[in-house]
C-alpha cells in the first residue's frame, strides 16, 4: 500500500542520511523518489556527495566510493528491518585501508542487532571477527572447514 511504502522509504532514507557521513567521514547523501503521479510507481534515486566533492552523477563515483555507498544503503535497510543474519561476500575487496577500517567499525556497532557472516581476503577485516572458519582444499577439489580459535 502507498502509506506503508512511504513510511518505509522515509525511515530507510533517514538511516541512510545518518550512515553515509559516518562511513565516508563526511559528505552527505539521500534517497529521492523519482517523479511519478502515483507513489506506487515511483522509483528510488540515490544522491551521493563524498566529502569535498561536487554533487554529480552516481556513475562518476569511483569503484570504492560506489561500494561504500551501496554498503551504507544495505545497512540502512538492515537497521530499519533486521534479518536473522547478514551475509557479505568480499564486499571489502574494492576498499582502501581507511575505508576497511570504517566499514568494520560500523559492523561492530551493529552486532547487538544482528549476526554477520563475512567472507574476506583482507587482513584488517579478519581482525574484527569473533569466530573464524578457514575453508581448505587439502584434498584438491574437496572443501573442508577448519575452525580457528581467535583467542589465541
Amino acid at each position: 500500500s502507498r502509506r506503508r511504502f512511504k513510511e518505509t522509504f522515509d525511515a530507510v532514507n533517514e538511516k541512510f542520511q545518518e550512515i553515509f557521513p559516518v562511513i565516508f567521514n563526511g559528505g552527505e547523501a539521500k534517497l529521492v523518489l523519482t517523479d511519478s503521479q502515483d507513489l506506487l510507481l515511483a522509483g528510488v534515486d540515490i544522491v551521493a556527495q563524498p566529502p569535498g566533492k561536487k554533487l554529480q552523477n552516481l556513475n562518476l563515483l569511483s569503484g570504492g566510493e560506489k561500494a561504500l555507498t551501496a554498503i551504507a544503503l544495505i545497512f540502512s535497510f538492515f537497521l530499519y528491518k533486521p534479518s536473522p543474519f547478514c551475509l557479505l561476500d568480499e564486499v571489502d575487496a574494492p576498499l582502501d585501508d581507511a575505508n576497511v577500517g570504517r566499514f568494520t567499525r560500523l559492523i561492530q556497532n551493529m552486532t547487538d542487532r544482528s549476526q554477520f557472516i563475512i567472507i574476506t581476503h583482507n587482513k584488517r577485516t579478519m581482525e574484527v571477527g569473533d569466530l573464524l572458519y578457514g575453508v581448505t582444499m587439502e584434498e584438491a577439489g574437496v572443501s573442508k572447514i577448519v575452525s580457528v580459535n581467535l583467542a589465541s
Binding site: 543474519f85 569466530l131 574437496v142 572443501s143
Partner: protein, 169 residues
C-alpha cells in the same frame, strides 16, 4: 530468530558432511584461498532458503549443486543442506512462533527429485521459504550480498531499487 548452524553434504565442493556453527551475537569470518569453497557456502544458504534459478547459483542446471567429483573422489548422488535457526527470542513468523528451533532442509537427487523438510517433516518448496519470508533474507533481498555484486544497488535502475524498498516494507 538467529542463525545457529549450517550443515552441507554433497553440496558443490562440500563432498563430505560439513557443519558450521555461527556466532550468535557477533561476527563469523569465513576465509581461505581462491577456489576453496567460500562462495559455495553462500550458494548453499541461498539454495536451502528456496532459490530456484541455477544461474543465480552460478550453474547451468540445478544438478550443478550436487558434488560432481574431483581428482580423487567420484560424483555423489545427492546434495543436502540444512539451515538451523534459533527462535529463543520468538521473532519467527506466526506459524513457527512456538518452536524453539527451526531446521529447514533441502535435498536434490541426481534423478532430479527434490525433498523439502521443516524440522524433519516433509513439506513443499513454498513452505521452506516461509521462516525468513518477512525478513531481509527472503528472496534476493538485501541481507545476502554475493561476491562482485555489492554495487548492484548503485548500478540498478530507480525502478529496480524500488523492489528492494518493497522487500523491506
Amino acid at each position: 530468530m538467529r542463525l545457529k548452524r549450517l550443515k552441507l553434504n554433497g553440496f558443490k565442493s562440500f563432498c563430505d558432511e560439513t557443519v558450521l556453527d555461527f556466532e550468535q551475537n557477533g561476527i563469523t569470518l569465513v576465509v581461505g584461498p581462491n577456489g576453496c569453497g567460500k562462495s559455495n557456502v553462500v550458494d548453499a544458504i541461498r539454495w536451502v532458503l528456496g532459490e530456484q534459478s541455477p544461474s543465480f547459483l552460478r550453474g547451468q542446471a540445478m544438478g550443478d549443486v550436487i558434488f560432481n567429483g574431483s581428482a580423487t573422489r567420484k560424483p555423489v548422488g545427492r546434495s543436502e543442506v540444512t539451515i538451523l535457526f534459533d527462535n529463543v527470542n520468538g521473532t519467527a513468523p506466526e506459524k513457527y512462533r512456538d518452536y524453539e528451533e527451526i531446521a529447514v532442509t533441502r535435498r536434490l537427487y541426481r534423478s532430479g527429485e527434490s525433498e523439502y523438510l521443516i524440522n524433519k517433516i516433509p513439506c513443499r518448496l513454498m513452505d521452506i521459504r516461509e521462516p525468513v519470508a518477512d525478513t531481509g533474507a527472503a528472496g534476493r533481498s538485501y541481507s545476502i550480498v554475493e561476491q562482485g555484486r555489492v554495487d548492484e544497488l548503485i548500478t540498478a535502475s530507480p525502478a529496480e531499487r524500488r523492489i528492494y524498498m518493497e522487500e523491506a516494507a
